[in-house]
Each structure stands twice: as C-alpha cells, then as structure tokens.
C-alpha cells in the first residue's frame, strides 16, 4: 500500500495548517522568538552604541542572533506534541513522512519570517550595516535559514523524548549546524563586501549540498524516531 503524491501533499498541508493555527492560538514559539529578538537586539545596540564594527562582525552577529532564535523556538513543534500527549493522536492518524514535512515547512516559514524581521531591525538600529549585493545577501539568508530550520526540525524530533532537552538541544545542534554557520557567515560577508551576486557561488553550492544532505538524512532517520 502506498500513499499517492496528491494525498501526501494534502496531508502535509493539513499538518502545516494545524501547526500554524495552533501556534497562532498558543504562541509557544512566537513569544519565545519575539522576546529573544527584542532582548538580544537591545543588548547589542547598547553595547556597540556608536562604535564602528567591521563587516565580518556584523555578518557573524546577525547569524548568532538567527541561530539562537532558532534554538529557542523551533524545537517546540515536536516537543509540544510529546509533552501534551497529542503525538499518539498523530501516530493514529497518518504515517511519519507528511508529519515531518508539515512541521519542516512550518519551521522553514517561521524562521524565514523571523530572519526577514531580524535583518530589517538589525540594519535599522546598528550603524555601519551595509550590503553591496542585495541579491547575494538574500540568497545567503534564504539558504542559511532553510538549512538551519531543516537541522533544527530533525534535532527537535530527536530530543523530544529526552529528559534534559534544554541542554541537549543546543549541545546536539552545535556540531550539526557548525558547517552551515561557517559557510553562511562567509557568504553573508562576501555579499556585504562584493557587488557581484555570484561572488559567493562556492558557498551557495556548499549550502545547497548541506540542505540536501540534512533532509535526506532526516527522511531516513525520522521513520525510526516515529516508530517507538
């Protein structure tokens, strides 16, 4: 017995809609992300004041903000299902794959929205933040965000049943997302220094490869996480 592709898409969309409606009502992740963004941006703003900051530091700081925002909010999708006991209802309703991709889609769109808002706020409040190639900058942000959301989703699923989740999540995430962070910081720095949109082509290739690899691994691993 197999699931037809239109059925798979419909069920993935149903899981995504459920998570979006649930988030809009409970605001578990939204509140955490909003508060994190507000406090960290304020701290950075007061620390730097009018100091001139090198481009590499801006790129690094921006991704530190996005990384920790992702850490504080994106693991919630699986953890809340586990904590509230609703995961069994999902397991009695469908197979693993559409659940994973529905939640991945939710996390990707949530983090894309957060990245857009964070970047706009960052560029408005911090002096000296300038981008030479907007196309390259947007590609870097997009690929980095999708990669980070993909990694956060599978790690969130992995740790949902563990006891010491608060500690486990960043500890487990760091080695997995380190190659992504190093590459995306380099790509963002290039976009802020070089006007050519394809100057960071090598970095784009690495980021695309990372996204493909993490999603292929997630597809294979999630079935086992789902079973017991």
């Amino acid at each position: 017995m197999i699931m037809k592709s239109d059925g798979f898409i419909r069920i993935t969309a149903a899981v995504f809609r459920k998570d979006t409606s649930s988030e809009l009502r409970t605001r578990y992740a939204l509140n955490a992300l909003f508060l994190f963004t507000l406090t960290t941006l304020s701290i950075i703003l007061f620390s730097f004041q009018s100091a001139t900051v090198p481009v590499q530091v801006h790129a690094g700081l921006l991704w530190v903000l996005i990384f920790f925002a992702a850490m504080s909010g994106l693991s919630r999708t699986f953890i809340t299902e586990e904590d509230r006991g609703t995961i069994l209802l999902l397991k009695l309703s469908t197979i693993s794959t559409p659940v994973f991709y529905g939640k991945l889609l939710f996390n990707v769109l949530l983090l894309l929205a957060l990245t857009a808002i964070l970047t706009i706020l960052y560029s408005l409040v911090l002096p000296g933040f300038a981008v030479m190639s907007m196309t390259s900058f947007c590609i870097s942000l997009f690929l980095g965000t999708v990669g980070l959301a993909s990694a956060s989703t599978i790690i969130g699923a992995l740790i949902a049943k563990a006891n010491a989740r608060g500690t486990l999540y960043p500890v487990l995430s760091f080695p997995i997302v380190l190659p992504l962070l190093l590459t995306v910081i380099r790509a963002t720095t290039i976009a802020m220094e070089d006007p050519a949109w394809d100057a960071a082509m090598d970095e784009y290739r690495v980021l695309v490869s990372y996204i493909v690899a993490i999603n292929a691994a997630s597809y294979l691993v999630f079935e086992y996480i789902w079973k017991d």
Binding site: K18, R84, G85, L88, L89, L92
Partner: protein
Amino acid sequence: MTDIRITVAGLRKDFNRRPVFSDISFDLSGGRTLAISGRNGSGKSTLLKIIASLLSPSAGAVSLTIDGVEIHRRWTFRHVGMVAPYLHLYEEFTALENLTLIDRIRGSNHTASEYEEMLAMVSLERRRHDVVRTFSSGMKQRLKYALAWMDRPGLLLLDEPRTNLDPEGITTMKTLFKEQRGNGIVIVATNEEDDAVMCDERISLSGVPPPGAPGTGRKGGR
C-alpha cells in the same frame, strides 16, 4: 461487515530488559470482541499500543488482515480507532476543529453534516464551537469516541472505556460497542466486570511467569 482478522502470536514486551508480559497469543475475526484484564502494570495498555502499531513488540508478531490481504504495520492506523486515557486532544481547538483537523490529517474528507452527526452521537453538538480546554474530562472522553468512530474502523481498541463517563456517556459507549461488533473487532482493556461481560472472549495478563512456566495470556471463551 469487513472481512477482518487479527492474529497475535507469541507476543512479548520488555522495557529496559524488564519483561512486562510474554507469550500472548490470540486470534479474532470480524464480529468478535475480546476483553483484556490484569492488575496495574500487567501491560494491558502496552498490549493495546502494540496492536495499534504505536509500539513494537520485543518478540512475537501481530498480523492484521483485511479481505485476506495482510496490512503492513506502517498502515495499521488506517484500520484502527482507539480511545484511551493517554490519548490527548488538541486543547486549543474546538471540538469541531479537532474532528476536522484530524480528519484532514487522516486524508479523509467527511462532510460538515457528518461532523455534526458525529458530535450529536456523543452529545457534544451544543459545545462544538467551544475549545476543548474548557471541556470536562468526560466530555473529552466523548470526543475521543467521536474521533475513533469517525472512519468506522475495522478494529476498535478501548482502554478503560468508561473512564470519566457519566451514565449517558456509558450508554453511548455501549451503543458504539454494539455497532462496532457488526462492523469489525473490538478489544477492550479493562478491569471493570461490566465491560468484560460484553465481550465474547477474555484474556488475563497476570504478570510474567517464572522461567519454564506456561504463558501469561490465558484466553477463556464465554
């Protein structure tokens, strides 16, 4: 009636090397009902979860066949309805939204009038637009019955079926039980004699025996 059959053979479950039950075997076809009883911790809920494919057994096998075709465990959920105390609803959604969302995730497409019908069946039609968070535990239990029964499953699993139900809810539960008997199989995990007497067969999970002793799953026909 669906031509459905469930065969459980030599089932054993261990948690951290501690055996919960072992050597459980039974065979049920459409129209038959089974009561599983046993003291607390004897593995009644665990056995139901294994039958529903929510857990894997440590040894043995569960085989579900529909019209002579064996259903892979990955797809068992399509033929199972379950009501259990550890099965929780989405409390931020209304009763109607819970039905609609789960129905869509199941890939089914019931109509609005069918949802209304399900809610009326469990006497929740007047509270359909209220969020589940405001429901009493008995009302939540009723909604679980509506969810379990929505797709008319071939196999209905009931764990402590009358938990939190008032007399009216128990009557609804018994009506569903009778309807399901005409539709497929019912397996009930209970220590309530009133529930067990409704079933055709009974097994008792009385704990794991010492090495060399016969199995724990004692099946007695009624």
